[in-house]
Symmetry: C2
Subunit: 279 residues, 2 copies
C-alpha cells in the first residue's frame, strides 16, 4: 500500500542576532506549507539562530536548550498543524557544550534531536561535534532519518541511515556557493543524488539563501527519488519553497533489476578498513 | 610537482565467442591510444571475452588463466607501448573457479589482478564473487586503484580505494541502459561523480557499446575530476575514445576549503555498523 507524503523544503533566510524574526518566519512558513498540503516541512541548518556566527561566544549566546521555549513552540506548531517539522538550531546541551543540532518533531513530540558529527570550516570553532550516528525514528508518517549538511558528504553516514531503515532522509543544510563548470549541477546536489541512488532512499535537502556576514549560499534545496533523480527543480540562490510527493513504502524496496538489492548485495565483512582510524 | 598523465577510455565492442577478434581490437585500440599520447588505456569489463554469456558453461569455456597467452600478450603490449593497460577478462582461477576479473598492467608487469566482488544480475550464475578489496598499487605513473562496474555503486568500496591512496581509480564497466528522466545524466555517472568528489579521487570509467545477445549498453564512459565534475563529454551508446589529462599529484591533496579534508574529517569509530552483516 503506498504511503504518500508531501515534503516541502522552505529555502528561507535567517539572520544571526534576530532569533525572534527567524522564529516568526519559520512559524509563518510552516503554516503556509501545511495549508498547501505538506506533511513534512523542512527548514535549513541553524534556521532558528542564523548560521554565520562571529565567535564561539556569539554561538553560545544564541544557543538554546532542547527543553526551552523554542522547542516548546515547535512542538506546539507540529501538533497544531499535524506535520513533521525538521529544523536546525544552535543547541546548548545539558553538559554545557554548544552543538549544531537539528530536531525532527511530529505531533506526538520530539522524535529526534541530532548533533552534527562532521563539522564544516569555522563550525569547529563554535560547536562540539556530535558523537552519535544519524537518528532514524518512527513518526506518524513513516520512518525518517536526520543528518546535517556536511554529514551528507560522508557516504558512510548516509548508509547508516539507510541500514537503519530510513524511508526518507531529511537534511537541513547551509551550502556555501563554490565555482563550478558551466552547465554542471552543483556537486553537493550530485552527492545527494548518489546517496539516494546507492541506498534507494529518498533524500530531502533544505538549504538557506541569506548572505549574513557576507557568506554566499548556494540555495540548492532538492528532493531526490530512490533512483537518484531530482523530483524538484533547483531554485539556486532564491528564496523558495520546493515540494514533492513521495511514496515512503516504495523506499523500503531495495531491489534493482530482477536479481539485485542495494543493501543485500553489500559485502560487510570486507568493509572493515572503513572503521579504522588513519595514522 | 604535477604528475600529469593522459588517460584514454576505449568504449569499444567485444563479442562472446570471438575472443580472437576482441583481442585484435584491444591491441589495435591500445596502439592507437598510445600513438595519440595516452599513458593509461582502459577497456571495458570482460573486454577480452565479451560480456553476455548464455550459461556458466560458456563463461567457463571462455575463461583464461592469469598466466596464459592473453595476459602474455597484454604484458608485452604494455611493455612495448610504455603504457598502463587496464582491461576486463573472464578469469579461470588456479582453484578452478571462474571470475569476472580485470588486470592493471604496466611495463614492469601485472600490478593487480582483481576479481569483481559485487556481482550484477546473471553474473552470479557465471562467476564466483571476489573476496578481496579493490587493489591499489604503485605503477610507473602513480598509485592506481581498480574495481569493476557494480562495485562502483558501493561507496564503501570506492572509499577503501581512496583510503589506500589511489590517485586514480580505474573502472572497467558494462552499464546496462535504463530509462531515466528527460535531461538527466544517467545515475551510474552521477554515482561516479559523487564517488570522486567525496574522496577527492579522479575516476576513469570505460564502458562498452555492443549489443551482444540483445543487451543494450549505456556507453557511459567518463573521466571525473577530484571535485566530482566530468572532464569528458559522454558518448552515450557510441563507439568512442574519451581522453583526459589528470594531475595525479593533486589528487593526493584531500583538502576542501581552508579547514577541511575529506578523509581526515571522517569519524571512523562511529561507522562500525557499516561492517555488520544484516539478519
Amino acid at each position: 500500500m503506498p504511503e504518500m507524503v508531501t515534503v516541502s523544503c522552505r529555502q528561507v533566510p535567517s539572520v544571526v542576532g534576530d532569533a525572534p524574526g527567524n522564529r516568526r518566519r519559520i512559524t509563518a512558513e510552516a503554516r503556509a506549507a501545511a495549508a498547501a498540503g505538506a506533511d513534512i516541512v523542512l527548514f535549513p541548518e541553524l534556521a532558528a539562530s542564523g548560521y554565520d556566527f562571529a565567535s564561539a561566544e556569539q554561538a553560545r549566546a544564541e544557543a538554546v536548550p532542547l527543553d526551552g521555549p523554542l522547542l516548546d513552540e515547535w512542538r506546539a506548531l507540529a501538533g497544531e498543524l499535524g506535520i513533521v517539522l525538521v529544523a536546525g538550531y544552535a543547541e546548548l546541551g545539558d553538559n554545557g557544550h554548544v552543538y549544531n543540532s537539528a530536531v525532527l518533531i511530529d505531533p506526538d513530540g520530539v522524535r529526534a534531536n541530532y548533533r552534527k558529527a562532521h563539522l564544516w570550516d569555522r563550525e569547529a570553532d563554535h560547536f562540539t561535534p556530535g558523537a552519535a550516528p544519524p537518528p532514524v525514528v518512527d513518526t506518524i508518517l513513516g520512518r525518517l532519518g536526520l543528518l546535517i549538511c556536511y554529514d551528507l558528504e560522508f557516504p558512510e553516514w548516509v548508509r547508516l541511515a539507510a541500514l537503519d531503515g530510513a524511508e526518507l532522509l531529511c537534511a537541513p543544510v547551509s551550502w556555501p556557493a563554490f565555482p563550478r563548470p558551466a552547465g554542471e549541477r552543483p556537486n553537493e546536489v550530485v552527492k545527494v543524488q548518489a546517496g539516494a541512488g546507492v541506498n534507494r532512499m529518498p533524500i530531502a535537502v533544505c538549504d538557506r539563501v541569506d548572505a549574513d556576514h557576507g557568506a554566499a549560499w548556494l540555495g540548492g534545496s532538492v528532493i531526490v527519488d530512490p533512483d537518484g533523480y531530482p523530483l524538484t527543480s533547483l531554485a539556486l540562490g532564491e528564496e523558495a519553497a520546493i515540494t514533492a510527493t513521495i511514496d515512503l513504502a516504495a523506499s523500503r524496496d531495495k531491489s534493482i533489476g530482477e536479481r539485485n538489492d542495494v543493501l543485500a548485495d553489500r559485502r560487510p565483512p570486507l568493509y572493515g578498513a572503513i572503521t579504522k582510524e588513519r595514522v
